[in-house]
């Protein structure tokens, strides 16, 4: 370990002297460490004293910071008023901030102005000595030899087999991460909608007459029977599939009706799944003039006038349409479940209806 030269590099006491090491490699040889430049505090006792006072002041500021924290914690009474919370949070943050910054800046200032700033030089060790490597190799050879693992392939192979199999039970136990009774992909094809299920407002559960929806408006609805599902989690999971968006437009504005879907709308009222076919965010924004529905997560845009066709963004499929009509009392009801799985595309989704359980 050496130290800075204090003057002329050619006479420096550093380990690296001028021209040391890789001589001739570069245009000039390594000139060694530059001479040490003394700081003000190194030479002027007044400056040194001043630095000392500055460090102590910073430590005092830290103490004041801690006191500010106590004031914020005890003197501010939390109430329903958010102002008090805000004030307390600011006092705690500023208090801790000063407490920490005072210590940190103080110590760093101390190190930079008062502790020696001579750079030192240390040699790197070679990463490995050849003699030691040979010794280590010999040890490993001895260990392997004494264990006999090379000479006894039967032991080795059965051990490998056992070691590969032994962790499997622990992997297998993860199977019950999903313990649902209806385990599998089939459940994803069905939602709570069914023939005659009323469309009701969320969260009040009031049924909706066609006349309640004015032309140009949109609202999100849930199936009437969703409230009967017991358990918060089960209800949310069902809702995640069943939430529907209803929009009403001038019946003449509907530009496209696929054969077989003629009776899926009622007097310009058209309903679709609110779950985006891209990755499943709620398609929450409706623009009445263009009839466009927009998903705020990734901006997939669907045209309600063209059976929710994708007009922009990353979605790969139209939103599934829910066939609706009105019942005897004039309330909006579903004609059936969705005729395809709602939400993001998944591997087993397919295009057809293998079980024949979609009646459309």
């Amino acid at each position: 370990m050496g130290e800075h030269g204090h003057g002329d590099p050619t006479e420096s006491g550093a380990v690296i002297k001028a021209g040391d090491g890789e001589s001739g490699k570069y245009a000039i040889d390594n000139p060694g460490l530059p001479p040490h430049r003394p700081r003000v505090a190194d030479e002027d006792p007044k400056a040194e004293k001043r630095s000392e006072r500055q460090v102590a002041t910073l430590f005092l500021i830290s103490i004041i910071g801690t006191v500010i924290f106590f004031i914020g914690y005890f003197a501010v009474e939390l109430s329903e008023d958010l102002q008090a919370l805000r004030l307390q949070n600011t006092l705690l943050g500023v208090g801790v901030g000063f407490a920490m910054l005072g210590i940190g800046l103080g110590v760093v200032h101390w190190a930079k102005t008062l502790m020696p700033d001579h750079e030192l030089v240390e040699d790197r060790k070679p990463l490995r000595k050849e003699a030691e490597r040979q010794e280590a190799e010999q040890i490993i050879d001895d260990v392997l030899e004494e264990s006999g693992i090379k000479r006894r392939p039967l032991i080795r192979n059965t051990l490998i087999g056992a070691a590969v199999l032994a962790p499997l039970p622990f992997v297998l136990t993860l199977r019950d991460l999903d313990r649902s009774e209806d385990f599998g992909v089939e459940r994803m094809r069905h939602s709570m909608w069914d023939e005659g299920v009323r469309l009701v407002r969320d969260p009040t559960g009031t049924p909706i007459r066609a006349a309640d929806i004015t032309i140009g408006s949109a609202m999100h609805v849930i199936p009437e029977n969703l409230r009967e599902v017991s358990g918060h989690a089960a209800r949310l999971s069902e809702k995640a599939k069943a939430v529907v968006l209803v929009v009403r437009m001038n019946p003449d504005d509907i530009q496209q009706v696929t054969p077989g879907r003629e009776d899926w709308t009622y007097d310009g009222i058209i309903a679709c799944s609110k779950v985006c076919t891209h990755v499943g965010c709620p398609v929450a924004l409706y623009e009445r003039h263009t009839h466009h529905l927009l998903c705020p997560c990734h901006q997939s845009t669907f045209d309600a006038a063209q059976e929710f066709k994708v007009v922009f963004g990353p979605a790969g499929r139209p939103l599934p349409q829910l066939p609706i009509t009105v019942d005897d009392e004039g309330f909006l009801v579903a004609r059936s479940d969705f005729t395809e799985p709602v939400g993001p595309t998944y591997w087993e989704r397919g295009s057809t209806d293998p079980e024949g359980d979609y009646n459309a």
Binding site: P9, I16, G24, K25, I28, D29, N30, P31, G32, P34, Y73, L85, N89, L91, G93, V94, V96, G97, M100, L101, G104, V107, A111, D117, E119, L120, V121, E122, D123, R124, I139, D178, S180, F183, A233, L236, S237, K239, V243, K274, V279, G280, C281, P282, P296, C297, H298, Q299, F312, G313, A315, G316, G343, P344, T345, Y346, W347, G350, T352, P354
Partner: protein, 574 residues
């Protein structure tokens, strides 16, 4: 190992017993030392040298943020209950009183409104997490652009990459815990992305959520990952990372006195310990002030999770931005043709969610290339030497350009993650931004590559200029015959050495293997090598330098005295 050779004398064994400390502190120290071997630790580390440079600070920031995360996170666990069981909120935040919500959300609200200092700790935790990932990212960029990942530090680079991924995982699992609308929609996106994965994706989602999304299981599961599994892995990786830093000793920038065989810097005791230790408090202090004055994740505004509402303009934490952006960038249709398709199978067909899968490719490739970059570069350059002296980024133009291109690629994805906010804040069409970004994502990195490489080469030429002609002194002088010219001053040897001490290899051409054959892989390597090294500026050679001195000397004699000395000393050592 043989125990027959006696290495130590009996007296040496007794030495430890004989030492009698004089002071009370000495007695305590001696007691501990005799039992844990502190002498060895102090001898090894007490004056260990660490090179000092402001760019070496980012790794420290990351480490300190992690410590702050552990401290604040532990506090949060005392009140937060990750249960998804339904409850009715009766805390002091009036707008949500009486609402049905999960216990997780209710206790997160309790922490914010009813536990004194809870809001502060939550904000401190969130800000520290943002800083943690940011510091790791900048630290990695520093390591990349200075070539610190080269032999012998390749494996430590891999550990660093793993730490970054763990940081992202920690961030995402933590972000999802409060179970409000914002984080619930984040989980919904993860669910949708998982389901897009062919064959196993749907079941991965089932097993994560314990059934269909969202179910009642996921929050406690993420909680265990967030507070135990991921932090434990991060701690282990940090330990390995630091152990390797000590083994390799830190790299240093090129400069006078610095060689491949030494470390120049400050000793741990007292200077480095004081600076690094003090710096922890500075990081803590800055985070505390931010947490006290800048609100983050005001989760009471969002309401309990429900699959039907969503806010417009919702943004993920910054480090999730590129993942989100690339999803937004991808078109679902090209014209009228859907990218999504169904593979016809006897059992009804399997769907391929191409618009979700394709965006995962650039992300996966980016991470993969990041992990194996040290080997890719070593293979292209054929450089298998150890490097402890860092590259100045300009002296590795192609690498620097690749780095800049990657950063550009990342930033375009990241910016796209906020395309809606860019549209509303700058009054632009959201659709136009997206269309242009679809072009920019391909063109931007190429532009960045070319520009960066040219800038590097120009900076290298500027360095040559400085070495050969010196600095412009800002003084115009008139020569006796009337010519005006600017005076140049010659830099000191210390400055010169930094400017000339680097290597700029020429393309090496294909090398035959042991059988004397040039394989196809070797041809590819040679082509890449050509591409990597073809544009180059050589460092000033000794001949050029001597000639420049000669020129100065003959040109005008006003500085001749100093330069003649220079020349003599250079020629003498030649």
């Amino acid at each position: 190992m043989s125990a027959t050779t006696e290495k130590y004398t009996e007296a040496q064994y007794l030495e430890a017993e004989q030492y009698q400390p004089a002071t009370r502190t000495g007695r305590i120290t001696n007691y501990v030392d005799q039992r844990v071997g502190g002498t060895g630790i102090v001898r090894e580390f007490g004056r260990k040298i660490f090179p000092d440079h402001w760019t070496f600070m980012f790794g420290e920031v990351a480490l300190y943020s992690f410590v702050i995360l552990i401290l604040s996170g532990t506090f949060l666990t005392f009140w937060f209950d990750p249960s998804m069981a339904s409850t009715r909120y009766d805390g002091s935040y009036a707008p949500l009183q009486g609402l049905e919500m999960s216990t997780a959300y209710a206790t997160a609200l309790e922490l914010s409104f009813d536990v004194r200092g809870g809001l502060f700790m939550r904000q401190l935790h969130h800000w520290a997490a943002l800083l943690f990932v940011m510091a790791m990212s900048i630290h990695m960029l520093r390591v990349f652009f200075t070539g610190a990942f080269r032999k012998p530090r390749e494996l430590n680079w891999v550990v660093g990459c793993a730490l970054l991924i763990m940081g992202l995982a920690a961030g995402f699992t933590g972000y999802s815990l409060p179970d409000e609308v914002l984080s619930g929609n984040g989980l919904r996106i993860i669910d949708g992305m998982m389901k897009a994965i062919p064959v196993v994706g749907t079941y991965m989602s089932f097993f994560l959520f314990g059934g269909e999304f969202p179910g009642g299981e996921v929050i406690p599961r993420l909680y265990v990952l967030h507070i135990m599994v991921i932090p434990a892995l991060i701690l282990v990786l940090i330990a390995v990372h630091l152990f390797m830093v000590v083994t390799h000793k830190h790299t240093q920038y090129p400069g006078p006195g610095r060689t491949e065989r030494n470390v120049v810097g400050y000793p741990v005791g007292p200077v480095y310990a004081a600076k690094a230790g003090g710096f922890f408090f500075i990081v803590f202090g800055i985070l505390a002030v931010i947490s006290g004055t800048f609100q983050i994740n005001a989760l009471w505004n969002y309401g309990p999770y429900d699959p039907s509402p969503v806010q417009a303009g919702a943004q993920p934490d910054w480090y999730i931005g590129p993942f989100e952006g690339v999803l937004r960038l991808m078109p679902g249709f090209v014209g009228e043709i859907p990218l999504e398709f169904v593979i016809p199978t006897p059992w009804g067909g399997n769907s391929v969610a191409t618009p979700v899968l394709i965006p995962m490719i650039p992300i996966a490739v980016m991470f993969l290339v990041m992990f194996i970059w040290p080997w890719i570069e070593a293979w292209i350059t054929g450089d298998k030497k150890e490097h402890h002296i860092l590259d100045r980024p300009r002296n590795a133009p192609t690498r620097t350009a690749i780095g800049a291109a990657s950063v550009t690629f990342y930033c375009i994805m990241w910016g796209m993650g906020s395309n809606d906010l860019i549209a509303t804040h700058f009054m632009l069409s959201l659709n136009d931004i997206t269309y242009w970004s679809r072009v920019l994502i391909f063109v931007g990195p190429v532009i960045a590559f070319v520009l960066t490489k040219r800038i590097c080469l120009s900076l290298q030429r500027k360095d040559r200029e400085t070495v050969l002609h010196g600095h412009e002194a800002g003084v115009i002088e008139m020569l006796p015959h009337g010519e005006f010219r600017e005076k140049h001053t010659r830099p000191s040897d210390y400055e010169l050495y930094t400017l000339v001490a680097f290597e700029s290899p020429a393309p090496s051409g294909p090398q035959p293997n042991a059988k004397g054959k040039i394989t196809r892989t070797e041809k590819l390597r040679a082509r890449l090598n050509q591409w990597f090294y073809q544009d180059r500026v050589e460092p000033v050679s000794r001949e050029e330098y001597l000639e420049a001195l000669e020129h100065d000397h003959h040109g005008d004699g006003h500085e001749g005295g100093l330069e003649a000395t220079d020349r003599r000393s250079i020629e003498a050592s030649h």
